[in-house]
Every structure is written in structure tokens, then in C-alpha cells.
Symmetry: none
DNA sequence: AATGAATGAGCATTCATTCAT
DNA sequence: GATGAATGAATGCTCATTCAT
């Protein structure tokens, strides 16, 4: 699932690396890109030294987490595209956004970190490659959906990616019923904005501003 | 302009306070919620001591900046609502989102700062009051727009606020032509999703994923 | 005595700066260029923060100490040169080496620190200037001594500086009677090697290897 | 070549030990006594584990390197003494200083390392023994040279050793033509200071201070 | 025996905040 | 009131050393 090119690690080292990655993703998601490295290590149940042996500094760790996250999102989108029977591109598009926490993590890590770090993520070759492939898959879906007449013809894959990531970003950190609903409603409205013709009923009931107050 | 309750400051002190507030807003917007206090002071042309005399700690400063920002946004929305001739509620809604950098700052300061700080912003009474008034105004606009048949009837002010803030959030830190276009297109699409019936042509040309890569 | 160009410090800050400089010189001399910054701060009776406010990092501190030391040595040599009545250049040369601990510190800090740091010391403009002036004064003394026939004509100021610093380096860290004698004897022998003609009796008694064992 | 008392190692282990020793000597010479153990291991082409199996800690390694170096220097001096035909003690003395990098390494490792380490080197029995034998050989040469009238009678082996090591120390880390010349000139001057009577022409041309600036 | 992974203590440095001038 | 100096807690990172594979 990961995209690194490490020459092959000893089984236990591999296990540690993975544990660190998972823990770091959660920690970043919960506390932002500045969580103390020591806390990540503690949560992963390893010493700081181990953390630093695998990831030379915070930036490297962050890049790795983003890579992992992007790779997973790419996998999901690819799968959705592959399953799409002819005339079902729209559904594939919708499904490609179906587990948005990944997207949210990517976005927040990329855009909230220091400009330097953001640039590092951007410049990383593996990251570039994944983004590239992601763009291709999405582009295919967009054209197909436009061909089948479900997606409005005046948008591009960039618009779609932008909107989808914004919606994903709307997910609050704390998983919470209202947040979930707010997310689904926002998704539906945006999809409606993207759709070529019809209009679907929104789930749940209209949200009040108070609904959003719960953090 | 500000919403605090300071007893009344000497003219120069007042000037200092305002300068700090403006500088801090810019600094937070540019470098995130962790800019060193000393840098803010330097940029504002005062000593740290002065900064701390006005704002007992970073959190207080942040809260004040958010307050200021929200107050301004509320003012704008209120004005838009007031000007709205009957049958023009939709336009008022659109205009209420017309200077989105304010919104973006509010959002990022509120949601990106540490959970503790976010909670502090949330709990602050002035902040609560402004949010409350904001909700009322927005609610009025929403109902009016739905009455006049321009806004879909199954959404609430919460949905609208949520979506508008997401779109605002999409503005990248660096002001950049593509980012601007991306923002306007996203806004148009979302508004289309919100609109009761018609459909408007999007500005610019369809974005490719590559368009978004710049930054 | 110092060569910095600070715009003028508050009296207490100045006092602190000087205290840090003196303490650091002693600490470097005793424990080498790697003494913990915290220990230097502690010895100087200030917090680490204060140390870092004056000297942005270890390298800057080291450079400042070397500068200070070199400036002092230059002062001494200049004074010796100025007092030299005609025909007394040799004595001036000898006196310029009369408080060699300064020299020893300079040497060890310059040559024992990491190559990077050594380069930094070397590149520092103030350091360059002092070295330049030092070279000029020494050169004058060398020519004068050769003119008066006391210094062998086939050496240059570079040779003299090299030898004097080596001899100075021979001083052990711990001030100790034998080390003192060893230093004086070595100086006498080297001066004899440099002298045009005569030969002077060495002070003290012949040293055995055992004498040098005391560290 | 080494002076340790290891019970007898398997051939490959022996090879490893020697390789480590040689590599460590070079690394210490190049980067000072603080080179990371891991780097030494890497340079020697072994794992850290192996390094630690042979030398329980950094100090032990350092002591071993110094021992090796001293043993080699002793060997050379002994050979010089043995070859000395009657009336040639002076030349033997001179030749004993002929490969000074060894000396330089010994010196810097002994005197630049932390006081603790220096003490350890000092206290080590093998080291003591070698130093003892070295003192004896040197002492013989000194007396012989004084008997044949080439060495001034008022110096002892301690003086000679002190001066020779200082001169050796003058060699800069980077091998460099000017440094080489500076070393040779310094040696000649010191020897002149030690010589009973005559005076030899110095090699090369007089050095300027600028000559020494390189590095 | 060799390897290289894991550990954690140690040190450099930064920055929020307090306080003397 | 303003200033900027001093403080020290917090955190990133390195590296000697130990130990599982």
C-alpha cells in the first residue's frame, strides 16, 4: 500500500515502520502537523530513535504519511473506475469520494504545514507520480461522465478535484453524527451543482448554524 | 471596528492596538497560527512588551483577530441584507460571500489552531454573540430567498454557511490568478447546487488538475 | 577590547555579554569547543536564552571568543612594537609572545573545532581584519629585528607566527609548574633557533619524558 | 603491529579488527575524536555490532588506535637508533621525526579528546609501557648525540620530545604543499635551536603570514 | 560471529511570557 | 506606557550502546 522504495526491511522493522506510519497519520489528523515527534513515537510504542531511523526528520515522516494516504485514495479511485460499467461513470465519481477522511488528511497536511514542508511534499517524486496517476484516472472518469451526459460539460477534472477535496475538508476532526450529516449534505449539494440535469433530495433535515457549532 | 469592551484607551494606545490587530491578522494569514509573537510585534513596529500589554497571551490575540474578522463579515452580510430589495435575496446571499479572504482567515484560525485554542475562540462570549447575530441575518436571507423561489427549499442557513466557508477556504494562501479562478468556479458550482432552478455558465475555462498544481 | 559592531547595548545587557564571553573563553579552554551551551550559560550565571540572544548559535559564540582573544593579542603585540626603542626589535618579538594563553586558546579553538566552524572563523570579516593587522605588525617587527641583526635573515613573519603559536599550544590546559617550565624552555630553544647569532642558557633543568607525563 | 593482548583471533576476526583500527585512525585524523562510531563502522565496512564486539566502547577504540600509533613510532625510533653508526646519533634523532603524521595523530588524540579520555589513554598499561620504552630509546639517542657534540648539552629527552611533538602538531589536517613546507621549515629551525653549534640553511623561501592563511 | 534495529539520554535551539530599565 | 532583556520549559534531533535476528 505504501509507495516507498526501501530495499526490503527486516520483518520486525517493517512492522515498526508501518505502525509508525499509521500512528503518525492518526496523530497528525488529531493534533495537526506539529504533534511532538516524541508523542508520535510514544503512541506507536517505539523509542524516538526508531522513529528517526526510519524518517530522518518530521518532514520526511509527513511526506511518507501523505504518500501513503494518497496511494490509498488513488487505489480506491482506480477501483471505482475499474468497476464502472458503461454508463455508470457518475457513480464511480461519487464512490471515489466515499471515504473522505483520507482526503481530508492529505489536504490538511499539505495545506496546513509550513510553506517549506508543503513545498517538500509537492516536490517529492513519489508524491508527484501518484498525483499524476490520480489526475489521469480522474480525467478519464470526468470525460466518461460527460460523455454519458451525467456531468456538466463545462467542468474539468481540476474543478472536480478541487470541490471534492473541499467537501472532504469539511469533515470535522472529531467524528460526530452532525458532522457526518453536514458532510453528506454538502457532498450532495456540490454533486447537484456538478450534475448535468436532475436534482436529488438531500439526506437528513436542513442544518441550522447551531448544528455546526458542535466541534 | 472591533468588538472588545476595553474601557477606553489613550489615542496612541488605541492606534497601537489597531496596528497590532491588523498586523497579526496578516501574519496569521500568511504564516499560520504559530507565528512567533515576537515577529508579530516586530511587524507591527512595537516591542513585545506592548503586544503583551494589550493581549495577555497568544490566545487572546487570536480571539481578538477572529472577533474582528467576524465582525467585519457580519457587517458586510448585514449591509447586503439591508440593501436587498424584495425579490433580491439571492443576490444578497451571493454578495455576502464577496470578500472571502475574511472568511478564510476566520476558518483557518478557528479550525487549524490547536483544539484548545479553537475551544477558546468558540467559548468567547463576544464571538458567540457575533456568531449568533450572523446566524440570524443569514437565516433571514435564506428564508427570503426560499420564499422568492431562488434557493432550494431543502437547505438551511447551516448548510449555506458550511458550504460558503468551504469554498472560501479553497483560496490558497498565495494570491494567484489560477487560485482566484478556481475559487470563482467553485463558488459558481456550489451556488448552482444551491439554486432552486436555473443554471449559469461558469466563468473561465474548465480547469485541469495541472492548473491546481501551481502554488 | 571586543571588536563587534553592536549598535550599543543597555548597560546590563553589555555586562551580561561580557560575562558570557569571558566565561565561554574559560570553558572552551578547559573543556574544548564542545562544552554544552547550557554549561557555559550556567557558569556565566545567565539563562540559556540570554546566551542565545547574544550569540545566535555555538559558532557565533566561538567566533566572538576568538575575535576577542585575537584582538587582545594584537593589542599586546602592537604595544610591544610601539615601546621598542631602536635596536630592540628582538625583545619586542619576545614580549609579543609573553602571555601565550591567549594564543593557545585561539589556536585550539580554530584548529580543533569542526572544519565547518574553523571555516566560519576564518571567513569572519572582523577576524580577517585583525589577522591582517596582526600580520602587518609582526612583519614590521621581523624586518626590524633582521635589520638590527638579531633575527636570522632567512625567516619570514609566517615562520615566526607558526613557531610562536606552536610553542604557545604546548601549554597544557592545567596550569602546572612543570608545564610552565616546559613552555619556557621550548620557547627559549625555538628563539635560539631563530636568533641570528648568540646562544642563551636555558632556564630550569633538563626535562625528562616523565616530567611531561603530568597532565 | 598491535600491542594488545587478545588471546588469538580467528583469521577473519583479526582482519576485521585490523581494518577497524586503520579506518578509525584515519577517521580520527580527519574528523577529530568525535566521529560517530557508526561512521567508523561504515567506513570499515562492518556493522556497529562488530565494532563494539572488538572494542567495548569509544574510549577503548581510541586507546587502541593510540597504542598502535605509538608502537609504530617506537619501532621507527628504535630502528633509527639501531642503524646509527657511532657519531651519527644526531641523524638518528632527526630521522625519528621523519613520519610526523603518526605523531600528530597521537598528540591530537591524546590531548584533544575529553580530559577523561586523555586520562584513560594515559593510564592504560600498554600505553605506559610503550611510553616507557620510547623514553629509554630517546634518552639513549639524546645522550649519544650530546656525547658526540651535536646536541646542546643543556636539554633532556623531555625537551626533545616536547618540541618534536609540537612541530609535528603543526601539520594541518589537510595535506597541502604550503603546510608541508611550513612543517619542514619549523622543524629545521627547532633543530637549529637544539643543535650544539652550526647552523643550516632553511629549505624553501621565507614564509609570509599569507602563506599560512590557506586552509 | 555479524548485523543492523531499538533505545533513550543528552544537547542545541526556539519562543512564550515576565520583568527591569 | 513602551521597550527589549532575561528566563526556562518544550521539543527536535543525534549518537553511544544494547540486543534481537
Amino acid at each position: 500500500m505504501t509507495a516507498g522504495a526501501q530495499p526490503r526491511l527486516r520483518a520486525d522493522a517493517r512492522r515498526n515502520r508501518d505502525r509508525i506510519l499509521v500512528t503518525a497519520a492518526a496523530a497528525f489528523a488529531d493534533d495537526g502537523p506539529d504533534v511532538p515527534m516524541e508523542e508520535i513515537a510514544r503512541l506507536a510504542g517505539v523509542g524516538v530513535g526508531t522513529l528517526y531511523r526510519r524518517f530522518p526528520d518530521r518532514e520526511a515522516l509527513l511526506v511518507a504519511v501523505v504518500q501513503d494516504s494518497m496511494a490509498r485514495a488513488l487505489g480506491r479511485t482506480r477501483a471505482a473506475a475499474a468497476e464502472a460499467t458503461p454508463g455508470q461513470a457518475w457513480d464511480a465519481l461519487v464512490r471515489s469520494l466515499s471515504s473522505p477522511r483520507e482526503l481530508r488528511l492529505m489536504m490538511s497536511l499539505t495545506s496546513l504545514a509550513s510553506p517549506t514542508t508543503a513545498a517538500a511534499v509537492h516536490a517529492d517524486p513519489t508524491t508527484r507520480r501518484i498525483r499524476q496517476e490520480y489526475a489521469e484516472v480522474l480525467d478519464g472518469l470526468v470525460r466518461a461522465a460527460q460523455a454519458e451526459g451525467t456531468l456538466r460539460p463545462d467542468v474539468g477534472a481540476g474543478d472536480v478535484a478541487h470541490l471534492l477535496s473541499l467537501v472532504a475538508y469539511g469533515l470535522r476532526r472529531t467524528p460526530d453524527a452532525t458532522a457526518e450529516i453536514a458532510f453528506e449534505r454538502a457532498r450532495a449539494i456540490v454533486l447537484d451543482g456538478l450534475r448535468a440535469r436532475p436534482r436529488t433530495p438531500l439526506p437528513g433535515r436542513p442544518l441550522t448554524t447551531t448544528d455546526l457549532e458542535a466541534e
